[in-house]
């Protein structure tokens, strides 16, 4: 067991866990943030995607020991408040980017990470940025539309 300190969604956290525990399990079990999902446990589906120091990672493949002192952001940290959604979330709502919702937290993190870096992405940029996040419901079209349209509301 190790004592680790890092921040999650802007809030300081201290956990005492095995340093090889997966970041996914720490945010879900130790911090009670259930937004990130486990779809495959091998980094293929992207449902567990979160940001660590501004980088998009699949949290099922990250030992929490690597996150000491890091800034972690999860889907719970996207919306400004309980009454407001982020622009990307709002666009997903309006354009049908979420169906069953299980890939949505990871998809939102990937889309947000893209828009933070590339303010005016082409459709090709969007396709590449989301290629690590599998969605079985939408066929991706509505997600592309939501990501592209998210800018218009900016």
């Amino acid at each position: 067991m190790s004592k680790l300190e890092f921040s999650v969604n802007g809030r300081a956290c201290t956990v005492e866990v095995h340093p090889m525990k997966r970041l996914l399990d720490v945010v879900r079990d130790d911090l009670g943030l259930h937004g990130a999902k486990e779809g495959c446990g091998e980094g293929e589906c992207g449902a567990c995607a979160v940001e660590v120091d501004g980088r998009l990672v699949v949290s099922c493949l990250v030992p929490v020991g690597q996150c000491a002192g890091a800034r972690v952001r999860t889907v719970e940290g996207l919306a400004p408040d309980a009454a407001t959604l982020s622009k990307v979330q709002q666009a997903f709502l309006q354009y049908g980017g979420a169906q069953c919702g299980i890939c949505t937290p990871g998809m939102l993190m990937a889309a947000t990470a893209l828009l933070d870096k590339v303010p005016r992405p082409s459709e090709a940029d969007v396709r590449t940025a989301l290629a690590g996040n599998l969605c079985r419901c939408t066929g991706y079209m509505k997600i592309f539309e939501a990501v592209v349209r998210a800018l218009e509301s900016a």
Binding site: C40, E44, V75, G101, T104, T128, G139
Partner: protein
């Protein structure tokens, strides 16, 4: 049942926000993996690991302290006075757990259940259990099942057979100008919902309760009642947010629900089982593999005079849902065409693999693939374009389908085809491709165009809806709002939103005045399973009817004006205060014209059909033999569209699954089990694999669907695979008759059977040269 008026209300026809979206977007929606209960244990399943045998003994290794674990075997079911079965269509098919002395029928049969407070303690215990099994011969291929040298089911491995006979097929073939024949094969397909199966079980007093990811709460309840020997008041099933189903959570949750309940009863504490991806892919159901032989007779002008179709499904080790999958596949085998003489023989065969089950389309995509591939071969042989051949044979309104059903839908397939081709820019692309081919003899990439035309029956097949006799309620609540009561589940397709739209417009109120209850068998009536493209059209119609009844009751009580309008909230509250509870129920009634003869397999197989014309543009890389879809047009007539964004999302999602089935998704079988049971090795389409999908709706309102809506969910699974494979034939000049058309399969088709030396081996049987065998 009263016909619906196709009118625009305040909600129907508009893309209102999805009801549960806010929680999903914030990461607050609660799926089974997000729910824990006080004292909850974690469960795991020990499986058979042999394709077939007889269980002789279960040995628990000394390296594990078994007193720390809750252990359940078949003996616990019997000792408690229950029945060791998973009741589904029939009461006795597969066991809940294989008992000592019982037959193991496939490699993933559950034998022992374990539970422990620490989920990490489960794997060592699972490994410490050794099963002593007397091996028995297994049937691992469809050929072996058909040969029936080893019999694993009934007398001849046939789980079920159906036949359609129309006209005089033999006479038509004897008189035929052109006869064609081909054999077409489709592989298994994993549903690959991103949320694996999972359930929590607990005893609430003497009520066995399970919560979890599922499509059909009342199926799970039926399974619990039979296995535990209790009535409906002592078996409660509650759906949690469900991360996709696609048919994959139609039947398996009945098994898993029984398992968590058995563990919870023995433990005296709640128990949760979450499958990991590997277990979910190996053990749970997949789309039935199929083999279809199509013989056709045609005149030289393209008129089809006869179809003779032999349709075979691999059902796996138990009957489960195979007979209903087979019936839908059999009925859809002759397509949306008017052919005077039709014979279809459908058989579902047993093999020693885990049972195949429901997956979007439910048998129809398999038989439609065969016919639509075959028709392109016939067109080439006759020197006709694929579209001209189809135009020559389209059924029209008033025409007759293979079962003798008269088409009542206001459908003009010729017009739908015209719209689809125009949207796809078919003529211009065809000219461009011809010019490309003329310019370059051996291009590195070859383009092709393909199409498929098809239909999909709305709701349960044949007498299914009558037997289900689904019920929906609408009730008044203390705050004056109303609540829709149905067991139809939200699994991403938009059930909650669509029901609220329908109820709001039927009552003439805002959607904010309508709540849709969580499916909980304690609270909601049985509106039937969430399957068969039935939720919007069949159950939605019941929502509309119940809402009308509730309103009529308030009018009759003098609380609302008869001519519409009025304050519903105030009326509901006054009713509750003065007259007592307010609840209206509606039960399914077939449209008056529906007549179905189950024995002869003749009549109105469905109340209505949805119709589709799909067009694919494909490019094949001649170095790697990868096929890629460049553009896709999906045109369909689905009756009234209740919610354009949700409906479009259904089509796009179905097309993407169809592209996966056609090109990428290859279940590799080894010793009767899926060996590539990981997302790394089983490839579904990513955001970089799906082309632009352009969706077009023609809307001809259906009088017996709510506000005119028909079924939509499964339709988009039917068209992509044949359209894509037809485009590949157009590109390469060779006909590929099996899917998935992986690079190995395409290489074998182009360079000769066995060229790839890969796992496309044996693909030779699924490939035909540019011509078609069997000309008359």
């Amino acid at each position: 049942m009263l016909p619906s008026r196709a009118m625009t209300g305040k909600a129907v026809g508009r893309s209102v926000p999805r009801r549960e979206a806010d929680a999903k977007l914030r990461g607050q929606a609660r799926y089974v993996g997000d729910v824990t209960m006080p004292g909850m244990l974690h469960g795991a399943t020990v499986r058979s690991q042999v394709a077939r045998g007889r269980l002789r003994a279960i040995h628990f290794g000394p390296e594990v302290r078994w007193d720390e674990y809750v252990v359940v075997t078949a003996a616990d079911i019997i000792a408690a006075g229950g029945v060791n079965t998973v009741a589904l269509i029939v009461d006795h098919d597969q066991p809940a757990l294989v008992g000592i002395g019982d037959i193991i029928a496939h490699r993933e049969e559950p034998v022992v259940l374990l539970a422990h407070p620490d989920p990490h303690a489960l794997e060592p215990a699972r490994r410490a259990i050794r099963l002593e099994v007397e091996p028995l011969p297994a049937v691992l291929t469809l050929d072996d099942a058909l040969a029936a040298r080893t019999v694993v089911y009934g007398e001849d491995n046939v789980i079920k057979s159906y036949g359609i006979d129309k006209g005089d097929v033999d006479a038509a073939f004897a008189a035929a100008e052109v006869v064609s024949e081909g054999v077409y094969e489709t592989g298994a397909q994993e549903q690959l919902y991103i949320e694996n199966n999972g359930m929590i079980g607990a005893l609430e007093g003497d009520v066995v309760t399970v919560w979890g990811s599922m499509q059909c709460p009342y199926y799970v309840q039926k399974g619990l009642m039979k296995c535990f020997g209790v009535g409906p008041e002592r078996a409660r099933v509650v759906q949690l947010e469900t991360g996709g189903g696609f048919g994959g959570k139609e039947e398996y949750p009945s098994i898993l629900g029984i398992h968590v309940a058995l563990l919870a009863r023995k433990a005296g504490r709640p128990v949760r089982i979450l499958y990991d991806r590997g277990e979910d892919m190996a053990a749970t159901t997949k789309r039935h593999p199929s083999r279809t032989r199509v013989r056709s007779a045609a005149r030289r002008d393209g008129t089809l005079t006869a179809l003779d179709i032999d349709f075979v499904l691999d059902g796996g080790a138990y009957a489960t849902l195979s007979q209903v999958v087979l019936s839908r596949g059999t009925i859809h085998a002759a397509g949306p065409y008017s052919v005077a003489n039709v014979r279809v023989r459908g058989r579902a065969m047993a093999t020693s693999t885990p049972p195949h089950g429901a997956f979007r389309g439910f048998g129809a995509p398999q038989s439609i693939f065969a016919l639509e591939r075959h028709l392109d071969e016939v067109a080439h042989k006759l020197g006709l374009t694929p579209e001209a051949l189809r135009r020559k044979n389209f059924v029209t309104k008033g025409g007759e389908l293979a079962t003798g059903q008269l088409v009542r839908d206001d459908i003009d397939l010729g017009a739908l085809l015209g719209s689809a081709l125009a949207l796809a820019d078919w003529e211009r692309k065809r000219t461009d491709i011809a010019a490309e081919r003329a310019r370059s003899g051996a291009p590195l990439r070859r383009r092709g165009l393909g199409l498929a035309t098809f239909l999909h029956g709305t709701g349960f097949t044949g007498s299914g809806e009558k037997y289900l006799a689904s019920v929906v309620g609408v009730e008044g609540m203390a705050d004056g709002r109303v609540r829709v009561l149905a067991s139809s589940t939200e699994i991403g397709q938009g059930t909650q939103t669509v029901f609220a739209q329908i109820a709001a417009d039927a009552l003439g109120v805002d959607m904010a005045d309508v709540e849709v209850a969580t499916p909980d068998t304690r609270d909601v009536p049985n509106s039937g399973p969430t399957v068969a493209s039935r939720t919007c059209t069949i159950v939605g119609k019941l929502v509309e009817t119940a809402a009308h009844t509730l309103r009529a009751r308030l009018v009759a009580a003098g609380l609302l004006p008869a001519d519409g309008g009025g304050d519903l909230r105030a009326a509901v509250q006054r009713h509750l205060a003065t007259l007592g509870p307010l609840r209206a129920l509606a039960q399914y009634e077939a449209p008056p014209y529906v007549k179905w003869d189950e024995g002869a397999f003749r009549g109105d197989a469905y109340g209505a059909y949805s119709w589709g014309v799909y067009v694919a543009e494909v490019e094949v890389d001649m170095l790697t033999y990868e096929a890629r879809v460049l553009d896709f047009v999906a045109a369909q007539e689905v009756g009234r569209v209740i919610h354009p964004v949700l409906a479009t999302g259904q089509i796009e999602g179905g097309v993407a699954q169809g592209i996966g089935w056609a090109l990428y998704e290859n279940v590799v079988w080894r010793d009767g089990v899926m060996s590539n049971n990981r997302m790394t090795d089983y490839i579904m389409p990513t955001s970089e694999d799906i082309p632009p999908i352009r969706v077009l709706f023609a809307e001809a309102p259906y009088p017996y669907g709510p506000f005119g809506a028909k079924g939509i969910g499964e339709l988009p699974m039917d068209g992509p695979a044949p359209a894509i494979l037809n485009a590949i034939e157009d590109a390469l000049g060779v006909s590929i008759r099996r899917i998935p058309a992986t690079p190995e399969v395409i290489m074998d088709a182009v360079e000769g059977a066995g060229a790839s030396n890969g796992d496309g081996a044996g693909a030779g049987a699924g490939v035909a040269g540019a011509g078609v065998a069997g000309a008359a």
